[in-house]
Symmetry: C2
Subunit: 474 residues, 2 copies
Amino acid sequence: MNNVERLIDDVRERFGPKVALTDRADIEPWLTDWRGRFHGEAAAILAPASTDEVAEIVGLAAAHRVPLVPQGGNTSMVAGATPPADGSAVILSLRRMNRIRSIDRLASVAIAEAGVILSNLHDAVEEQGVRFPLTLGARGSCTIGGLTATNAGGTQVLRFGTMRSLVAGVEAVLPDGSIHDGLSALKKDNRGYNLDQLLVGSEGTLGIITAVALRLVVAVTSRAVAWAGVQSPEQALELLRFLEARTRAVEGFELVAGDSLALVFRHIPGTRLPLESEQPWHVLIEATTADADTDIAAEIQALLAQALEQGFLTDAVIAASESQAEAFWRIRDSISEAERAEGQTLAHDISVPVGRMPSFILEAKNEVERRFPGTIASGFGHLGDGNIHFHVRAGSRTVADWYASEGTEITRFVDDLVTAAGGSISAEHGIGQMKIDELERLAPPGRIHALQAIKQALDPLGLMNPGKLVPLKR
Amino acid sequence: MNNVERLIDDVRERFGPKVALTDRADIEPWLTDWRGRFHGEAAAILAPASTDEVAEIVGLAAAHRVPLVPQGGNTSMVAGATPPADGSAVILSLRRMNRIRSIDRLASVAIAEAGVILSNLHDAVEEQGVRFPLTLGARGSCTIGGLTATNAGGTQVLRFGTMRSLVAGVEAVLPDGSIHDGLSALKKDNRGYNLDQLLVGSEGTLGIITAVALRLVVAVTSRAVAWAGVQSPEQALELLRFLEARTRAVEGFELVAGDSLALVFRHIPGTRLPLESEQPWHVLIEATTADADTDIAAEIQALLAQALEQGFLTDAVIAASESQAEAFWRIRDSISEAERAEGQTLAHDISVPVGRMPSFILEAKNEVERRFPGTIASGFGHLGDGNIHFHVRAGSRTVADWYASEGTEITRFVDDLVTAAGGSISAEHGIGQMKIDELERLAPPGRIHALQAIKQALDPLGLMNPGKLVPLKR
């Protein structure tokens, strides 16, 4: 028997067979990342149902020196939850830990276990008349543990921040098997380094997040969704500033390039341009209110009319119904799918300081298309956060092995532009396996050293999601 | 020559005499903590004027194995900036690094060096029509570096959070002499563990903070300050919930016990009760608006009238002028001074979950006064943050050496009550030297181990503010 088999035996003996799945059919779907680019191997999925079970499993894994790859909904965009290919590790699924332990309306805090699916949390708190604001495309399958471990973002970050701002406390099993309980959600607590914040965004490399205390906000009573045409990313940002100076209601502000839009209309059935006229750039605006007396649609309509007059946009329409609002969002959410339907696409989730983003989008597009003639580059997404998804399509350079032959070179080129602009090569998706080489190439050596030192300090055996986030010491 | 002398020599040779002060008169005032309880010794104050100078000094200190005690305004409430008594360390003053590098209104971010005094920052951003909201009693002498390193709180936390929420990025010299530059203040950045957040609240034990990117908020156009009488802490919290459900304007909500108030009126000249009638408990309420069209005083007045009608308070008055508003705040800010004038007082800066605070205040007072007959205990402060300053006065137990003879026992008793209530023995003041034994006694071993491991990983020579925050390994 090898170490992995010994661990599986021990877990079975201690907790019974359903905590250590070894049936190939059960494991197979969880060995490949969401994008389908990384394929791993694992002899078992361990599936504990409680924090104490996780703690025991971490202890057993340490005793047998078997690495653990924590997994929630397996929706990582950077293969952060895919096990190594050599089968040396096992998957630790948190999906059975799916209980919402409490919803405290008065304190505006919910405590959810790691395996709770985001949309289930949304529904549960909504039933209590409150709201958890963070949301993203994968909400039907991504989990609270994964969202926390990756400091996920999404479309409402503009107003409420990323997971980091919404996490009031974390419960986690540390690599030494001890349970860190930060769930009391004290508003002020200065007892040493903030382990909760260190665990947010640590991608499972410093311990296993088992439950999270989440800040809730007041429920939305109505929303207004608008679509506007603008001349440039610069004008889009001016429009955002214009709105933000006049209302606190804007919580989504998504930039879309005209040519991305054309792909959506070509490939996604039932979609059409909300505006009367073609526009070079577009923004999707969502505003909400918690006040039943506020006519948010009228307020936004008036502001957009004012913005049109003052030259901050060239055309705009406000969704007349909830189904039209959904249709607007569907256009935005279909861009990646449309680009994939059009052909090979390299995606880059990047950020630069908000004020630099408009010029960055245009300059980076030009630089990429000049350096790799035939490609088509475009950026879209969360302009107000300084975060766009910068996609490079193969265009006339399409060949069967384009990703392998040119992918690395193009991504390096984009990442160099981002770094030169003082930006981040990972805005909201994390590092995982996919970006670890680029992190090592571009981060200052002092920073890499600090990451390695912290990793080594808390996980000296290197058993927590190895090969993710932290470049190996050389 | 010993190591300290060698370091001083090297610093002088490299940067000239004014970067290494050794005149006793220059050093003396900085050897004692703000409360006057801890006295340290140091042969020099090193006073670099730039980040590069700090980096070189950190390198020289490492070469000579001399510990550095970073110091800003020396206003720590837990002796966090007082050097060890044996003279083994030198003080690293950041006070010459007092430049505000930039104020970006559009991005709502200011970059201030560590030595910038808080009130200077307030003035500078106000001149630009924006606002840095965090404030506290020591604003005229405390510095941005110290506020960041201790995750300071203060009176506006209710609305804007502690320093942790207001820090957008940190520049720091790490113990290995490398410069961590987190100042780009990207809104989204998931490139590994968040070192900025790790440095916030690290009390100088993981590196020297040299500059901070700070979030700004819209300027206040007017404020309303009210004083209300309530029957109990429970009613005070109900009043807060009542107000918060109806307005977002409340940013200060301070609870004051009737007997604390009596001490203020006895010892602080020119103070008097703002209300017509005696009340067992009081709250000071501050509300602000950024909207020139809002009559905030009228809004709060109307809400308080409604609250009176619905039984959420028993009496209230709104300040009729800015000078009356100042007078209300002066009462609140004089409580500690009045208690010290009355006699020996043990202060405890503690937090519990907000909802538990009302009962905790009453129960803890009873328990302490029963266990130590003759003492008088009371809690006051930031009720909405679940954070009060719980003070125990010697009362009839007054003896010359009361702090020495009973202080530790009483503090342990209070800390046990706090811990049993799921609270923190340090809400906003930090651990420093003063609370390090209690942290070690009460924190779970796994947590202490994690703190030690992180400290050891980033500062293997143990030269960064030794003896503060992190209990020594035994």
